[in-house]
C-alpha cells in the first residue's frame, strides 16, 4: 500500500532512477539463494507481518519492539540514493524511511555504546537459502557501524521504495541504506539492533576478511582482489553499449562522510 512521506531533496540526486521493475528483480539477498533473480523468485515465503525488532546492549530503552512502535514517532521521508554493489554494478533508488540517527537517539545509547550491531531474520523455513549445507555463511547475517557512522545524516532506515512498502526481496519490512558504503553493508529484514562497546564481526568479514572489510566504504582506489572497483555498470545497462561510469570515492557522498574517516588509512581500513 502507498506510504505517507515528504520528499527530502537535500538528500536526493537528480540522476536517472533505476526502473522499479529492475530494482525488484535483480539483487542479492543470499537468504533466498545466490542468484540475482532468486530473491524475487523466493522471498514471497517470508512473513513480514507482524514483525518485531529486539533492541539490546548498551542503551536506555532495550526491549522487543513491534515494528510500528519502533517507527511510530517518526515521519517518513523519501531520499533518492545511489547504491553501489561491491560487484561493480549500481542503481539509483528512491527509498522511503527515517534517518537512522533519529531512531538510535530514541533508544538512548549509553556512553559505552561505541558500535551498533544489526542482524537479519534467521528462519530456514521461510528462507530457503539458509537451508543449504554448503553455505559458508554462519547465519544470521550480521552487520555493524561505528556509532558516529550510524549518527551520520545519510544513514537511513528504509521501509519502502518507489513510494510503496518494501518488497520482500528488497529487505522488507525494514532495512538499512548506507549510500556511501558497498551494498552488502545495507542489511535487510532487520530483527535485532544492539549497542555494544566492541566492534562486531560482520558476516562478510568473517567469510573473507581480505576481501571485505568492516568499513566497506566505496573506494575506486582500493580494488577488490577479484575485480577492479574503478568503474561500475549503472543499471539498467545495455548489452552492446554497457552503461559504464567512473566510481567515485564514498560513492560521491564524500562531502557528508569523509570527515568520519579523517586520519585513517583507507587502504588498511577498507
Amino acid at each position: 500500500e502507498p506510504l505517507d512521506f515528504t520528499r527530502a531533496p537535500q538528500f536526493s540526486t537528480g540522476e536517472e532512477k533505476t526502473p522499479f521493475k529492475d530494482v525488484i528483480r535483480y539483487n542479492n539477498f543470499y537468504e533466498f539463494g545466490t542468484g540475482k533473480d532468486d530473491p524475487a523468485k523466493y522471498a514471497e515465503s517470508m512473513s513480514v507481518d507482524p514483525w518485531s525488532v529486539i533492541v539490546d546492549g548498551e542503551c536506555g530503552k532495550p526491549g522487543t519492539y513491534a515494528l510500528e512502535d519502533l517507527l511510530r514517532p517518526h515521519d517518513y521521508e523519501e531520499r533518492v540514493y545511489r547504491l553501489r554493489c561491491v560487484e561493480a554494478w549500481s542503481m539509483v533508488i528512491p527509498w522511503v524511511g527515517v534517518p537512522l540517527a533519529d531512531v538510535v537517539k530514541r533508544l538512548e545509547p549509553t556512553s559505552k555504546a561505541k558500535y551498533v550491531y544489526f542482524e537479519t531474520l534467521e528462519d530456514p523455513e521461510q528462507m530457503r537459502g539458509q537451508q543449504s549445507i554448503f553455505s559458508t555463511i554462519d547465519w544470521p547475517y550480521r552487520e555493524g557501524l561505528r556509532m558516529d557512522e550510524a549518527m551520520n545524516e545519510l544513514a537511513f532506515l528504509a521501509v519502502g521504495l518507489y513510494g510503496k512498502a518494501l518488497p520482500k526481496q528488497n529487505g522488507a519490512p525494514i532495512r538499512l541504506v548506507l549510500p556511501w558504503k558497498y551494498g552488502f553493508k545495507s542489511i535487510k529484514s532487520i530483527v535485532r539492533i544492539r549497542f555494544q562497546e566492541t566492534r562486531p564481526k560482520t558476516t562478510w568479514e568473517r567469510i573473507a576478511p581480505s576481501e571485505y572489510g568492516f568499513y566497506a566504504n566505496v573506494n575506486p582506489e582500493v580494488d577488490h582482489p577479484r575485480w577492479s572497483q574503478k568503474r561500475e555498470r549503472r543499471l539498467p545497462s545495455g548489452l552492446l553499449s554497457p552503461n559504464w561510469i567512473e566510481t567515485e570515492k564514498f560513492n560521491g557522498y564524500g562531502e557528508q562522510v569523509a570527515g568520519l574517516y579523517k586520519g585513517m588509512d583507507l587502504r588498511k581500513f577498507y
Binding site: 528483480r25 533473480d37 537459502g129 582482489p225 575485480w227 577492479s228 555498470r233 543499471l235 545497462s237 554497457p242
Partner: protein
C-alpha cells in the same frame, strides 16, 4: 579412436541445430528483457557455465561407450568438445566486451587468480580444437591422444575458476566437482584394470 565417417553428416547437423537453439534462447532472452538489467554479466556467466557443462559432457562419452558398447558416442564426443570450445570463445569475448570493455586487461590477467585459472583452461582448449579434424588426428598419430589429455587439465582448472567465484554457497560447485570426480574416477578404474590383472598374474607367477 578415430571416429568412423558413416552417418557423420547428421552430427554437425544436430550440432548446428543445437547452436541455433542456444543462440535463440540467449537472443530472445535479451530482446524480451528476460535476462534483466545487467545482460552482459548474465550472458557472460551463462556462456561460461555452458562451456564447462559441455566439457563434462565430452568427458562422459568415453565411459558411456565402454558401458553401452556403442561406438556412436565417440562421434558425438568430437562435436561436444568443439561446442565446448565454441562456447568458451564466446564466453571470453563476452567477458572482454561486456565486463571489461577491453580495459584494465593487464591487471585483470595478472592479478586476479580466478581469471588466470579461466585463461589457462581456455588456452588448454585451443590446441585441442585446432587438432580436432581427422587429418590432424592422422598426422599426429600417437601424439594426438597424448595431447588431448590436456582436457583433464582444462576441465580441472575450469572447475577451480568457478569455485573461486562461488562467494558463499559452494553447493553447486561441490555437485559439479563430484560429477567430475566420477568421470575421472571411472577412467582411473579403467586404467587400473589391466594393471590389476598384471599384478595378479605376477602374484600367481
Amino acid at each position: 579412436m578415430a571416429p568412423k565417417c558413416g552417418g557423420a553428416a547428421r552430427v554437425p547437423l544436430a550440432g548446428g541445430g543445437a547452436g541455433i537453439f542456444a543462440s535463440y534462447v540467449v537472443g530472445w532472452g535479451y530482446v524480451s528483457g528476460a535476462v534483466g538489467p545487467d545482460p552482459g554479466q548474465i550472458i557472460t556467466e551463462a556462456l561460461g557455465l555452458a562451456a564447462f557443462q559441455l566439457l563434462l559432457a565430452t568427458l562422459a562419452m568415453t565411459p558411456l561407450r565402454r558401458w553401452t558398447g556403442w561406438g556412436g558416442w565417440l562421434r558425438v564426443r568430437r562435436m561436444l568438445g568443439l561446442f565446448a570450445f565454441f562456447y568458451a570463445v564466446l564466453h571470453v569475448l563476452a567477458f572482454l566486451q561486456f565486463i571489461l570493455g577491453w580495459s584494465d586487461l593487464w591487471a585483470t590477467f595478472t592479478k586476479r587468480p580466478y581469471i588466470i585459472a579461466g585463461a589457462v583452461a581456455f588456452l588448454c582448449l585451443v590446441p585441442l580444437a585446432v587438432t580436432s579434424p581427422v587429418s590432424a588426428m592422422r598426422r599426429l598419430g600417437p601424439y594426438w591422444k597424448r595431447l588431448h589429455k590436456l582436457i583433464y587439465l582444462a576441465v580441472g582448472v575450469a572447475w577451480v575458476h568457478f569455485l573461486w567465484q562461488a562467494r558463499s554457497d559452494l553447493g553447486e560447485m561441490v555437485m559439479y566437482g563430484l560429477l567430475l570426480a566420477i568421470l575421472l574416477g571411472v577412467r582411473a578404474i579403467g586404467q587400473a584394470g589391466p594393471v590389476w590383472s598384471l599384478l595378479k598374474r605376477a602374484d600367481i607367477g
